[in-house]
Symmetry: C2
Subunit: 558 residues, 2 copies
Amino acid sequence: MADRLIYLPLGGAGEIGMNAYVYGYGAPGKERLILVDLGVTFGDMDTSPGIDLIMPDIGWLERNRNRLEAIFITHGHEDHLGAVGHLYARLGVPVYARKFTGALCRLKLEEQGHQADIVRIAGPRPEATQLGPFSVQFVPVSHSIPESSALIIDTPAGRIVHTGDFKLDGTPVVGDPFDPVAWHEIAGEAGGVKVLTCDSTNIFSTHPGRSEALLANPILEWVVAQKNMVVATTFASNIARLATLAQAAIASGRKVCLLGRAMRRMVTVGLETGVLTDFPDTIGPDEAANLPRDKVMLIVTGSQGERRAASAQLSRGRYLGLSLKEGDSFLFSSKTIPGNEKSVGRIMNALSEMGVDVHDESDGLFHVSGHANRPDIEALHDLLKPRIVIPMHGEHLHLREHMLLARARGSASEIAVNGAMLDLTADRPKIVDHVETGRLYLDGTVLIGAMDGIVRDRIRMALNGHALVSVIVDEDDNVLPDAWVELMGLPGRTRGGDDLARHIEGELAEFLEGADDRTVRDDGRMDEAIRKITRQVAMEEIGKKPEVTVIISRLMAD
Amino acid sequence: MADRLIYLPLGGAGEIGMNAYVYGYGAPGKERLILVDLGVTFGDMDTSPGIDLIMPDIGWLERNRNRLEAIFITHGHEDHLGAVGHLYARLGVPVYARKFTGALCRLKLEEQGHQADIVRIAGPRPEATQLGPFSVQFVPVSHSIPESSALIIDTPAGRIVHTGDFKLDGTPVVGDPFDPVAWHEIAGEAGGVKVLTCDSTNIFSTHPGRSEALLANPILEWVVAQKNMVVATTFASNIARLATLAQAAIASGRKVCLLGRAMRRMVTVGLETGVLTDFPDTIGPDEAANLPRDKVMLIVTGSQGERRAASAQLSRGRYLGLSLKEGDSFLFSSKTIPGNEKSVGRIMNALSEMGVDVHDESDGLFHVSGHANRPDIEALHDLLKPRIVIPMHGEHLHLREHMLLARARGSASEIAVNGAMLDLTADRPKIVDHVETGRLYLDGTVLIGAMDGIVRDRIRMALNGHALVSVIVDEDDNVLPDAWVELMGLPGRTRGGDDLARHIEGELAEFLEGADDRTVRDDGRMDEAIRKITRQVAMEEIGKKPEVTVIISRLMAD
């Protein structure tokens, strides 16, 4: 069969986060493969309580690892590189990234006990990495972290541009400005752009994107107007924003104190790799505590309301000798990610209770997005004139809107959600396969499958409570009627005021006394009957059916 | 001691939801009291898994029920009347409301087995209810439910205006338009307005509020442009919106089908009480399924992503014989309440996967808020010229912003959060007491305290999993070394691939075999040691410490 070009998202297509996209070229079923990005997403109480990190299920790729050439990481955000350390051992191929991103990758790999030299540093275009049928170039783009890159992936079937996360920013504060001439060149080489795989996150934002540089004046003016302690939070990886905040501090006579491990680490890596050239000297929390309040700006982690980050700690009281008070000012130079509204709100309200003035991005002055808005996406389509547009990185709503936009503008376009394999060889993309995919959960130190039932049981215990019943059967197969019931996460008292556990025990005793031999000898029957009675009694007495675990202990004759 | 006028919020001050405000007049500690509103808020997985409804802890009011004259309900939203049925028995005083609100109150009371005649229907101002030192008038205001009312509460210490939830709407589609002349009159009577207790929800919205009537044209134009089935969702209680949606359907040649119990109930109550005069005839789901798709509009419940509501059901497939498909259109004529973004997003994405075009309020055409924005709040301050402004109904951020606004405009103002008692007798409000308050959770059919530990245990089980250990001690105080371990919500295998439960059992056997008599005889010591070992082993093997319940069964000699 003829060689073909395929695309297979394993994460990020149908969700925002957890990016992982496979490209392949070769004979069907024998394509050589590369993986672009290997990110994580974060758990939540609604769907994944107790889960620290969520990663794409890369089972398919693992089974085909002998065909995999390498992993390319477009930029250093967790949703693009966060799973590299955890999943590297399953793939065992080199990781390519630019310098700053590569340094972050190495930290991730080392945390999991892997060698730093797995990561190979690639320079920006025109440098190209040749691997099997692929030639891959990193093209600098702007985003909310330094050194973000689009990838040009040249294959025998034509040129693919994979945007990664990007925006069009002529004045990005840190990193290279958007360069339409370079993109024009890219569009003109190699027979033009066959496939544009394109970020869809902001497809519903209808105004043109705003530049990072627009924030300098409003932030400076705001800082100058504050009379006491100033605190600002943003994503630690948004180094351009850190630079803008720090410059505003210095220009208004304040010293800068960085709080939060991620904040200090990002500035260090930024300086070491040269993406950040002139960050002001910072002071420690001790010195900050001893300066007059109007001479300090704290730049802190926790813009998303993370419970253990510096913002949350400050909102709860003293942190590293520092505390906020009436008349201080707190700036969220960030956007709240959907799902984090309540945690961010809790911190803002706690600050408000201290008398702190809280400011956020709602009036548009203190934050800009790192993603291309609809007009910017259209501009990129226009520049590159791709024959095929594959909407990437977005919930289904975003992908669909992007597909409709691309079709309306004359490109072929198709949605491939996670697990859907597209054949891109011809002029129209075609879904040719569905690969089993899903999510892996990092639970403590163990990777579990999202569908293993573990998390489902947690959710059920959280919603319904958990009743434990212990029953003993003696050496002669006589069941002791004194079942023991323990409740966890259930009201202790019934509506009538009785002790619920004792009440259930009473009902169980009645059943156990009358249970026939066939039932008593059979764990399955006993379990089912006890569970049913326990749930029924609870339903009558407190109006809900708990999860029930029955332990039947059978005593053995000596 | 001289008589005094007091204000004591028990819910709603420091949060959006669960409104309950006490006013009192009389000798300190002997004031006669009225309660304004008695609402609920809703639980979430993060803080209250398994909890159906959350209500204010009215313990203080219960202890002082002999001083309570009545409950006044400003309007029919759940966060203002939802707790009436559940808490009525603890207070036992009449409930006053206008006709439509009263009808909803009666339904709530009847659901809990109370008599409908507890509710006394009050007419709008100038009708006044005299109770002890209070004279209370209902003043029609606009909001997102018919017949909302502000209360004028006249006391010997002066006039209070309690706004309830309100907006200024000259063309509210349903109900009375905003009447500045009437408000001017109110400000001029009774020595002027001493206290304005005022809705703070939208204090951060800086543009003037928009009228409900502005939606008619955009919605009609949108419906006309759709080629297939149209579905619209909004809060069922937003009867003006239902009317607007239905009128757009009729005008574009579609029949209206209401889906969802709340939707049908609200229209029925609206018609019965006369707040709704001309709602078009509706059709049932069977008839809707048999009509051409471009002749139907479904108006459905579930605008907040509620799992069991009609929107969610339709997004999951067939519902009452109806299903959506490629080319259908779905309108969220609603705002997503913070915290519900993910559930709403899930529904929107599921619809998108079906090929349904999803529209929401993001371009400002299809929804208006029911609350007064900052300029409207300022307009009301100007009209009423209150000597004191008490910001009400809002998170602390909102209350503080409202307080700063009021002070800047020359009124005295103070924040009273739930449980803080304000003395309003003099010209400056003063906090004179803090009353113990909190939240009651409706769990199944039982009311539990938020701090009872039940919900805390559920959250811990959800985050950490639950390990159960059963140990048997025989008649001679010998512990049987075969502890039995069951895991719920925990990985079955360790990192090394062993069975986790068996592994813990092995470690426990080692401990039990060596346990001395003093330990074995003491349930507390046994429990502590077993718990500690279980948690340690789990930490080593899977990197997390589960909740542990130990059941020690002691066999008795016959």
